[in-house]
């Protein structure tokens, strides 16, 4: 049991670290698309790590199944949400950084 506790603790710490780094990226990155990228990638890995850490704390009962369901649901929905966010930003006419520079060069 001790080994499991250590492994789950390590997973939880790594998950928290990735979640935090995603939040830092959300503030530090220069434009919308890089920010969405930072948030979505770290979010997925943080969800996987935190939930597997929590699954290791259960005794293979109903709670394990519930956590697994949450994990599957998050793995489906959270990348989709980020994808749609970026897609609708493109649809609304937001340009990425290289495209903006190109446009500037053309104009100048």
């Amino acid at each position: 049991m001790l080994l499991l506790d250590i492994v789950s603790g390590v997973l939880l710490i790594f998950g928290a670290f990735f979640g935090l780094s995603g939040a830092v990226g959300l503030f530090k990155f220069p434009d919308f698309f890089t920010r969405v990228h930072a948030a979505s990638v770290t979010d997925s890995i943080a969800a996987i790590l935190v939930l597997s850490g929590l699954i290791l704390q259960t005794n293979l009962d109903l709670n394990t199944a519930k956590l697994l369901f949450i994990l599957i649901f998050l793995l489906i929905t959270s990348p989709t949400a980020s994808h749609v966010l970026a897609k609708s930003a493109r649809h609304g006419g937001l340009l990425s950084m290289p495209e903006k520079e190109q446009k500037k060069e053309i104009e100048s």
Binding site: F73, I76, T77, T80, H83, K87, S88, H91
Partner: protein, 326 residues
Amino acid sequence: MELLIDLVLLAMLALTALRIIFLKDLFAVVMLFSIYSFLSALIFINLDAVDVAFTEAAVGAGISTVLMLGTIAITGRTETPPTKSKLLPLLIVVVTGAALIYGTLDMPPFGHADNPVHEHVAPRYIEESPKEIGLPNMVTSVLASYRGFDTLGETVVVFSAMIGVLSLLRLRKRDADKNPESGIKAHRVLQVIAKIVIPMIILFALYVQFHGDFGPGGGFQAGVIAAAAFILYALVFGLSNVFKVVGPKFLRILAVFGVLLYAGVGVYSMAMGGNFLDYNYLAENPLSGQHYGIILIELGVGITVFAVMLSIFYAFDSQIERANIQ
């Protein structure tokens, strides 16, 4: 530790509220409202009020965000600056706030075991409800049986909200092919994912509905979650497609049916010789009578909440699509 979490959450709640007051961009305000609801749901979880947290997360952070976004799509996303003087409102707010704070001075000490709230009916519920009603989830016992009449009132309030919204925003009759294909609606990834997710959401709603006697959940949450599945379908595939599954007229019948089912259980228990909503008379054995009664009225609540939430969404969304066409 628990105190620390509470303090952090309350601080975030206060910051969100302040930001909501000072922001002029209403889209951001709606998002902050959603965050506000989610933070309060977390606080409720920390207070062990799982059912309330569930409702707050489903209604406050979920459906109301969609409805407020719908309102913004109709009305525009920036706040008009107030033209009148702010002095009188400020005075009123300061006086009311001071009176409320003065009122709290008379309150019993926070969290004390001898407080009236812990001595009045709560011990009776905790001691007697396993014997009288026999449900593991005491919240459902209180909500559906001891306070069944109040919950009937809440259901009627939800129902009359639908009447109010529908009498203000009429559903427009349009032909189906005029449905504009906006960027989101023609989006392949969203369509595939929505098709995977919607059955899971409906299954979860049914679980919440019928498992509410044993765990957190019940009619209110289940109705909102089921409505969310259909709202997702409407957002991704367009309103005219969801009308083919559940039409607005059918929803109105459903909303009425839910309230009538609830009240009908009450009338039936009167016919069987008890008081209004006295489930003990529904079956030979009072305990199983309570079980039947609670399942039936939770079903009534769930159906009404589902129908009302979806009708209100229809009313908003048909206005938006009309605005898009014009």
